[in-house]
């Protein structure tokens, strides 16, 4: 950790890892502080150009975090090159924020975590709240001095689940964070989202449906811990210490839920299945359940 945690928020203090979130106040007071890098990561690749937090650099998941050929993330060398180019050092504190209640910001945070970048935090409420609070924006694009970020191999065994991991996991908790329409099999894409290709509709047997946005309060910030526990432990039936896998359609909405499970509720064994429905719903002979009930594991 380079920059002290945001300890001013009683809400954060109740979370399992309070240091993973910062408020707009905290961030605005520290803009430009050495050792702190602000990263914007959005669904819309041009939104950053319309105005961003002063000094923030942009990281785009499509064009920068994904491998351009294989369906995978960049490798250790690619990640090192990316972060060096953005002027980020291995021991920097990174604060990520973005549009859509931090969907893509949480996705970036998860990918950074696969490479073991230790101190990555989210701006609670994301881009919309920063703007709603009347905080500064600029269209000046910073030109950071390149750093020498080390090549660290990605660890895919701890925070990431592959299809075979999920098959082996059946019987332990799964959280499907998609919309009810996608969960039941009425459709394969998020409402009002483009078709990204899945040949079958439904959900992974036994998965509980907790749409990702349920973790978010009306003002776009994360709900307090007690409310999150009522949803994930109460309704979805998770038990502290559970080994839990979250999935969605391509792994971005479930990164948001993964963040909630891992960092706000303290599920140390939470993983994100980034293959998600676009893989599972097209894979041959994997079990699928259609309808509103979680269903049973096939014998």
């Amino acid at each position: 950790m380079t920059v002290e945690f945001d300890s001013g928020s009683p809400k954060f203090g109740e979370y399992a890892h309070p240091g993973r979130l910062v408020t707009g106040d905290w961030l605005e007071q520290r803009l430009g502080q050495p050792g702190l890098v602000v990263v914007e990561s959005d669904e819309d690749v041009l939104l950053y150009e319309t105005g961003h937090i002063p000094g923030a650099v942009k990281v785009d998941w499509h064009t920068e975090l994904n491998d351009p050929v294989v369906r995978d993330y960049v490798d250790g060398a690619g990640f090192a090159a990316l972060l060096s180019r953005k002027g980020i050092s291995r021991d920097d504190t990174i604060v990520v924020y973005g549009d859509k209640n931090n969907w893509w910001a949480a996705y970036a945070l998860w990918v950074f975590s696969l490479f073991g970048h230790e101190d990555v935090r989210l701006l609670d409420g994301g881009r919309d709240r920063w703007i709603a609070e009347g905080r500064p924006l600029t269209t000046d694009v910073p030109a950071p001095a390149p750093t020498d970020y080390p090549v660290v191999e990605r660890d895919d065994s701890t925070l990431r689940a592959y299809r075979d991991d999920v098959l082996a996991h059946l019987g332990k908790p799964l959280i499907d964070v998609r919309s009810p329409e996608e969960y039941t099999g009425a459709r394969t894409t998020a409402p009002a989202y483009p078709e990204e290709g899945a040949l079958r509709a439904g959900h992974i047997p036994t998965a509980q449906n907790v749409p990702w946005a349920r973790a978010v309060a009306e003002d776009g910030t994360f709900k307090p811990r007690a409310e999150l526990e009522a949803i994930y432990l109460g309704e979805a039936g998770l038990k502290p210490g559970d080994d839990v896998v979250a999935y969605c359609r391509i792994g971005e909405r479930s990164s948001h839920t993964w963040f909630v499970l891992q960092h706000l509720l303290g599920f140390e064994n939470a993983r994100n299945y980034d293959g998600s429905w676009t893989e599972w719903g097209s894979a041959v002979r994997v079990p699928i359940v259609a309808g509103a009930e979680p269903g049973a594991i096939p014998a």
Partner: protein, 146 residues
């Protein structure tokens, strides 16, 4: 409509993008997004006329008008928080403006892939612009079918 030919307006826009180095093309797309014309007053309360472009991630609606002289006018609305989508709509609205229906229908379906943005915005995002173009052409076809 089996033949395709690119109208000068759209060819000009394509060349504007291709003349720029890749890393400056986003800035031009941003300029297009800022130029998306507002919906004409007469059409502002006519949400019923507009078709949602489902291929785009952001809510964008288009309405293509074929006037009495058989000339095409495309109107689009998309939120300010979706500048990429606004930029796509603006390129098509400007590029199709005032073409004859026949000229507009001859625009190649893969025009969005030819303007040098696929790598900078990603293939998945450019697919949204293709969806927009195909829907615009379908509307023109419906409105000129007699």
């Amino acid at each position: 409509m089996s033949t395709t030919s690119l109208p000068a307006s759209l060819a000009g826009i394509r060349d504007e993008f291709l003349e720029l180095p890749e890393n400056e093309r986003l800035q031009l797309l941003l300029e297009f997004s800022q130029e998306l014309p507002a919906i004409p007053a007469a059409l502002q309360d006519r949400a019923d006329l507009y078709e949602r472009v489902a291929e785009c991630q952001s809510p964008v609606y288009i309405f293509v008008e074929v006037d009495a002289g058989s000339l095409v006018h495309m109107h689009a609305t998309a939120p300010a928080e979706a500048p990429t989508t606004r930029g796509f709509a603006s390129i098509l609205a400007q590029g199709l403006e005032g073409l004859t229906a026949e000229e507009a229908l001859s625009v190649p379906d893969d025009y969005p892939q030819s303007i040098g943005l696929t790598r900078v915005v990603s293939p998945l995002r450019i697919a949204g612009m293709t969806g927009m173009l195909l829907r615009a052409k379908r509307q023109i076809r419906e409105k000129t079918a007699s």
